[in-house]
């Protein structure tokens, strides 16, 4: 009896062991051998056309209170496809779809697709909103499939579009970042798409290394920018206004913290809506503030002045004789008014924007030192985190003709990008140190860790004393010259300089009636929170930057003082607006 019972027990146990082994083998094949196939099969139940749902990290603006607001994110909705082989009534189906989905293909295209009976899948509407898609799915139209879809969405539309960039199909079959931050941080933003199918046991068998330290977790995430949406919107609004008022070819501007290089706003006009790229001029997809070079004109003078002061070639008490025009290497260089000023102090070079005075400083400095200073300003890329950064055109630095150095001293014959220009001028605001301009402050990894990017590297290009002395001249210019002294802000020191450059005619010369206007300023002068660089290219029927950009600069300055509640840095007074 006992032996019989024992043999039965053994028989049952053997059956259990056999069953367990069979299950183990089956699970091995299901999970590991055919795991990928099942993952794909599951994907198809959620997504369209055999591919997984599009996934990508977000890009965030950062509000002044530190709040993150999406600049680029994902929208969720549906796409509508038809199966021509099972679509019974194309007209009725089209009517039902077109009634709710605004992105449906045209009637003719729909009917033509429905007639292709050799096909089983034709997409007829994309980016259908969630509610509309669910409503359409509920109608259960034979031959019509309503499938989940995700796509890139830019909540700001045109807001910072050239900086944020776009995603599209490049040379491959995957959506990747093509311009702007989308391209620069594509490795961080792109997703491999298999993270949802991670199985501890399968990983244990197949890839124990990844289970412990996953490289994707250290790479994939979202990007947090330094762009402040309200400031960006204000800058874009003001640039659009000035561009339209003067029918300029293009206008641009950058607002940056000169101490850290954090760019708060960066815009050019015209721009584009990243959500609607169908009719966009491809030339607008790049970022002219980073890619294009310009001769900026007289806003170069503060750099010439700082160089001269730093080298000891001049002091703030130096004087020079300004005849109004001089001839150098047979070329004539004149002040804007062609009038002789006699013997005057060097600060008049900034206050009255004197080309002859800037040329005199360049001569005092000498070609070797001038070359050294300007190479340190513009000889390298800024390293800004945007793609396709342009090189400055510094060919004249390699020559020995003094007239070339004189031209460069007041911003002609030297072409640099706006980002290079604000970086160099930022050194005047930042005690002689150039910073690294940047748009991204941190990467928020999917693992939950936030990795702050290090942009702390600075380069000293001239002394703090030289920077301060130049700042004093620029501040006096703002207080006494801009709008004939009416622009002065009683409680805030502002340092500024205007620039008007003649445009090149493409044949080695310059137009006499076509100009490039620029404007730079920072405040408070001696502990600046912001530096603003503005330009407008080829404005019509106006000659000087003080006429086109001073209103824009003042609007932005007052806006930033109010918006950030920047405390006064000098005496108080009561004033009554005009």
């Amino acid at each position: 009896m006992r032996a019989q019972f024992r043999s039965r027990i053994r028989f049952v146990l053997a059956l259990i062991v056999l069953a367990a082994l069979l299950i183990l083998v089956r699970l091995y094949f299901v999970q590991i051998v055919h795991g990928g196939d099942y993952a794909l099969k599951a994907d198809r139940q959620f997504a369209s056309g055999g591919s997984g749902l599009f996934d990508r990290g977000s890009i965030y603006f950062t509000g002044k209170d530190g709040t993150n607001i999406s600049a680029a994110t994902l929208a969720t909705g549906f796409l509508v496809a038809i199966n021509p082989q099972t679509l019974a009534d194309p007209e009725a189906a089209y009517a039902a779809i077109a009634a709710v989905a605004s992105t449906t293909v045209s009637h003719d295209a729909f009917i033509a697709a429905a007639a292709k009976k050799n096909l089983v899948y034709v997409e007829v509407a994309q980016h259908v909103p969630d509610a509309v898609g669910q409503m359409l799915a509920a109608e259960n139209i034979p031959g019509v499939q309503v499938l989940r879809e995700r796509w890139r969405y830019y909540p700001g539309g045109t807001l910072a579009s050239q900086s944020i960039g776009i995603v599209s199909y490049g040379s491959g079959d995957a959506l990747t970042g093509q311009t702007g931050l989308e391209a620069e941080y594509d490795a961080t933003l792109s997703r491999s798409g298999d993270s949802l199918y991670k199985n501890f046991f399968a990983e244990l068998f197949s890839n124990v290394g990844n289970l412990l330290v996953n490289a994707k977790d250290a790479r994939e995430g979202s990007v947090v920018t330094t762009i402040e949406p309200d400031v960006q919107a204000r800058l874009e609004h003001d640039l659009a206004a000035v561009n339209q008022q003067y029918s300029s070819k293009e206008s641009g501007g950058i607002i940056m913290d000169p101490a850290t290089g954090a760019i708060v706003a960066l815009a050019s006009y015209p721009d584009y809506d990243a959500n609607d790229l169908q009719n966009v001029d491809p030339s607008l997809l790049g970022n002219p503030l980073v890619e294009q070079v310009h001769e900026f004109g007289s806003i170069m003078k503060p750099l010439t002045m700082s160089s001269g002061l730093d080298a000891g070639a001049i002091t703030t008490r130096s004087t020079f004789d300004d005849p109004g025009c001089i001839t150098v290497n047979t070329m004539r260089i004149c002040d804007w008014d062609f009038k002789p000023k006699g013997v005057i102090g060097v600060k008049q070079i900034i206050l009255q924007s004197l080309n002859v005075g800037a040329s005199w400083v360049a001569t005092q400095l000498g070609q070797d030192k001038f070359r050294s200073y300007f190479t340190s300003f513009f000889g390298q890329k800024t390293g800004i985190d945007l793609p396709n950064e342009g090189h400055a055109l510094l060919g004249n630095l390699a020559t020995t003709q003094q007239v070339n150095f004189d031209d460069m001293s007041f911003g002609q014959g030297i072409a640099v990008t706006p980002v290079q220009m604000i970086r160099a001028l930022g050194a005047v605001a930042n005690g002689g140190r150039m910073v690294e301009p940047h748009l991204v402050s941190a990467i928020r990894l999917d693992s939950g860790i936030t990795r702050t990017l290090d942009w702390s590297k600075t380069t000293r290009v001239f002394s703090a004393t030289a920077a301060r002395e130049t700042t004093q001249m620029m501040t006096e210019m703002f207080d006494t010259k801009l709008e004939n002294g009416r622009a002065i802000i009683p409680t805030m020191s502002v340092a500024a300089k205007t620039g008007t450059a003649q445009l090149t005619d493409g044949h080695g010369g310059y137009y006499t009636n076509r100009f490039f206007h620029s404007f730079v300023g920072f405040f408070p002068s001696y502990s600046p929170r912001f530096i603003i660089l503005l330009y407008t290219d080829d404005p019509q029927h106006v000659e000087y930057a003080s006429e086109t950009l001073d209103t824009t600069f003042l609007d932005l300055t007052h806006f930033l003082i109010d918006y950030y509640q920047i405390p006064p840095d000098r005496g108080f007074a009561t004033s009554t607006p005009a």
């Binding site: 053994r10 299950i23 607001i69 994110t73 995700r150 909540p155 700001g156 005496g571």
Partner: protein
């Protein structure tokens, strides 16, 4: 080995067989847990993405309103330019006198 005796009333074969059975059942249970976890992960992930998309729509409205405010002429909605501006005394360390 043949003479090995355990101080139990059942053999080592039975013990191991039982252990294998328990492990097999446990494994099946864990597989069920993992599959449920994966399903929930997919569901939650989808839910999070849907919520993010809904937030993005609201963010779009916010950013549109920000742009509209920039375009707004305050005089058209009844505001007037201030009669006077009074500035507070400066206490900044960097004040210029």
């Amino acid at each position: 080995m043949r003479n090995l005796r355990l101080p139990f009333s059942f053999s080592i074969v039975s013990l191991l067989s039982g252990a294998v059975g328990v492990l097999a059942v446990s494994y099946i249970g864990l597989i069920a847990v993992v599959m449920s976890y994966a399903a929930l992960t997919v569901e939650f992930s989808q839910s999070v993405k849907n919520d993010e998309a809904a937030v993005a729509v609201l963010e779009g409205q916010y950013l549109t309103s920000v742009s509209n405010i920039q375009d707004l002429d305050y005089r058209t909605v009844g505001y007037a330019a201030p009669i006077a501006q009074i500035f507070v005394p400066a206490t900044s360390m960097t004040a210029l006198r």
